[in-house]
């Protein structure tokens, strides 16, 4: 389905644009980190070690207030002391308030973000493209009805709707065995990959409208083409016309929109996790929320996971720009956050 011309355009644009190369490098890096998390993470991401809490990243030192109770002149007194904390080689990015290794948590956080981004977008594409192609191909009342539904959906900001749905439905997650740990390579790492099911369904439910609108537009423009009329005259069924003629013609704009939506959904997931609605305890947004409380003493807890989000999303947006410039689908593909 990918024509030689498309491949040529992609290559030419890639050669011209240094930013596209940066984008691909970032995306590949984040993908590798997510897949190889058990191998790359130096520690178990959930293992607490209160003796090593709030260690700063390498190259920094921090002063923390320590509250201890001590025997002073025969009575127990609460003593506040300032303690100088130095970085530790075994925790290059420091530790959080419970002594969990930041680097390991950031590496595992990539999994949550990418799983939600990719699976949520896939589900949104399936719903949106089905609705959009049906509406655009049949037109008339079906189209009116489906488009009014999409108008109502658009009136709710995705974040607000997502909070409402998750808050009210409750968060459920699936656990699937991590193949790398199951193969016995890193037996000390978490045995399961946690798939935040509700979050994936909800981000798809609040974002499918964008795909429906693009797919509908494409279907509208294709359905009066000669080859569609010819296929109909030859007795092809509606379903086969949609699948074999209308769908392939709308793939380019959908692909470009999907790339941008992965970025938008990763941002949405991090927002949900920050607000405590995702139920995930290994997510960049969750760590930022934890770090918010320790901002004045341990700046790295909130800062570093945010940098990870920015790098991942910049990479995906750059790849999206590359695809858009190379394929020129003629959409302003800016999905909502």
């Amino acid at each position: 389905m990918v024509s030689p011309r498309t491949v040529r355009n992609l290559k030419r644009e890639l050669g011209r644009s240094a930013l596209a190369k940066v984008g691909i490098a970032l995306v590949v890096a984040v993908l590798l980190v997510a897949v190889l998390a058990p191998v790359l993470a130096p520690h178990h991401p959930l293992k607490q070690n209160l003796g090593e809490s709030q260690l700063p990243p390498l190259g920094f030192s921090a002063v923390t207030n320590e509250t201890t109770s001590e025997m002073v002149n025969g009575s127990i007194e609460v003593v506040q002391r300032e303690r100088q904390v130095d970085a530790s080689l075994s925790h290059p990015l420091g530790t959080d308030s419970l002594g969990r290794d930041m680097l390991s948590r950031i590496i595992y956080g990539a999994r949550t973000s990418l799983l939600v981004g990719l699976l949520g977008t896939t589900l949104a594409v399936l719903i949106g493209v089905t609705v959009g192609l049906t509406a655009g191909y049949y037109g008339g009342k079906v189209d009116d009805g489906l488009m009014r539904v999409s108008d109502v959906m658009l009136a709710f900001p995705s974040l607000v709707l997502a909070i409402a749905l998750i808050g009210l439905l409750g968060g459920a997650s699936l656990r699937i065995p991590d193949p790398i740990v199951a193969a016995g390579v890193e037996p000390g790492m978490p045995p399961n990959i946690v798939l935040p099911g509700t979050v994936i369904v909800v981000v798809a439910l609040v974002n499918w409208v964008w795909f429906a609108r693009v797919a509908r537009g494409e279907a509208l423009s294709v359905r009066s083409e000669e080859y569609v009329k010819a296929a109909r005259a030859l007795g092809a069924s509606d379903a086969s016309i949609i699948l074999r003629h209308v769908l392939p013609n709308s793939l380019t704009p959908i692909l470009v929109l999907a790339t941008i939506q992965i970025a938008a959904i990763i941002l949405l997931e991090s927002s949900l996790a920050y607000l405590g609605f995702s139920g995930a305890n290994l997510s960049w947004g969750f760590d930022i929320a934890q770090g918010r409380q320790y901002l004045s003493t341990s700046w790295w807890i909130a800062s570093l996971p945010g940098l990870a989000i920015v790098l991942a999303v910049v990479g995906i947006n750059l790849v999206g720009d590359w695809l858009r410039d190379a394929l020129d689908p003629g959409i302003e593909g800016e999905g909502g956050v």
Binding site: F156, I163, G167, L168, S271, I288, G291, G336
Partner: protein
């Protein structure tokens, strides 16, 4: 069709969308698990007491009766009473609205004021340092989660340099104006200090987005033949850029802005959470956590309705800026 009739038609369509919003919000309560009475009644409530509470709130009536009751009350401006505090939901919601509107308006104004010049400079000085700076900023801006940006601003500007308060809102804009009328400008200064970081947090994404759109739109327009014609005619470059190219660039920018309004409201919700800003966003999160249905429904309806209303205004603006628009 005249502009007036066009707006009227869009307003009528808007009424239908709002009706859809109300219906969805109403049905939300019936598709979510958990009986609202469980959250209202005391833990040891007897079945008789639970029934009495249900009867008082009208929760024992058939669905369609509850639906029409709800619509009838809503038309009169009655959104019911909060399950938790017993106060009028509409009063609670409209008390919170000014804080959110202030935040959204300041963020939008700053975003528009910064981004359009930035986009124009970027397009007219392509491949110069100013362009690289603007494109880098806009890429970073659309890729940064706004809540994290807010926390980083607090970390640097409040915790380290103590320039701005870390959270909350001291007073409203109207109160600040009141003090100013009495000859006291301090109210306005305090107001500005409190709103600065939340407004930057909320506005950065939009500044970045509009900068990108303005830049690419200007580049498109400046390459078109009518621009060559106006230049050939001897018009000064500033007139070519701002009267002709920019005006045409703004048309798609306005469309996208209207569509992005939802993300502005969504962004306001999380910005409010970061800064403990007493607006609609913090109210909606609290009421969802407490299953306070009258408040949840009221907030969602107000949010959905404002989206529809502002979009109609955006359409009208669009028709005004673009005389080619066909009112269909």
């Amino acid at each position: 069709m005249s502009l007036g009739r066009f707006i009227l038609k869009r307003a009528l369509q808007g009424v239908f969308v709002i009706w859809g919003v109300v219906t969805v919000v109403f049905l939300l309560r019936f598709v979510t698990p958990g009986d609202p009475i469980t959250f209202i009644a005391p833990l040891d409530a007897s079945p008789a007491l639970r029934q009495r509470i249900a009867a008082e709130l009208g929760l024992n009536k058939p669905l369609y009766v509850q639906y029409f009751d709800y619509l009838a009350e809503l038309v009169r401006g009655d959104m019911g009473y909060s399950y938790i505090s017993g106060t009028e939901a509409s009063a609670r919601i409209f008390a919170r609205l000014p804080a959110t509107v202030e935040l959204a308006v300041v963020a939008t104004l700053v975003a528009v004021a910064l981004s359009i010049p930035l986009g124009v400079v970027s397009a007219t000085r392509r491949h110069e340092p100013a362009d690289y700076a603007a494109t880098t900023f806009s890429l970073a801006g659309i890729s940064t989660p706004n809540f994290w940006l807010g926390i980083m601003l607090v970390l640097v500007l409040s915790v380290q340099f103590d320039l701005f308060p870390t959270s909350r809102r001291a007073l409203g804009f109207v109160d600040a104006l009141g003090y100013l009328a009495q000859g006291n400008p301090n109210g306005l200064i305090v107001w500005a200090k409190y709103i600065t970081l939340p407004a930057i947090t909320l506005g950065t994404y939009f500044t970045a987005l509009i900068t990108r759109l303005t830049r690419s739109g200007m580049l498109d327009e400046l390459g078109k033949s009518y621009v060559r014609a106006t230049r050939a005619k001897g018009l000064p470059e500033s007139l070519v850029r701002y009267k002709h190219a920019l005006r045409n660039t703004l048309i798609p920018v306005i469309t996208v802005l209207g569509l992005q309004l939802g993300s502005l409201i969504g962004g306001a919700v999380i910005t409010e959470a970061v800064f403990a800003w007493p607006g609609l966003g913090t109210l909606v999160i609290n009421s969802i956590n407490a299953r306070d249905w009258p408040l949840i429904q009221g907030c969602l309806i107000v949010i959905g309705t404002s989206f529809v209303v502002v979009n109609i205004a955006v359409d009208a603006l669009y028709a005004y800026v673009n005389p080619r628009v066909v009112y269909d």
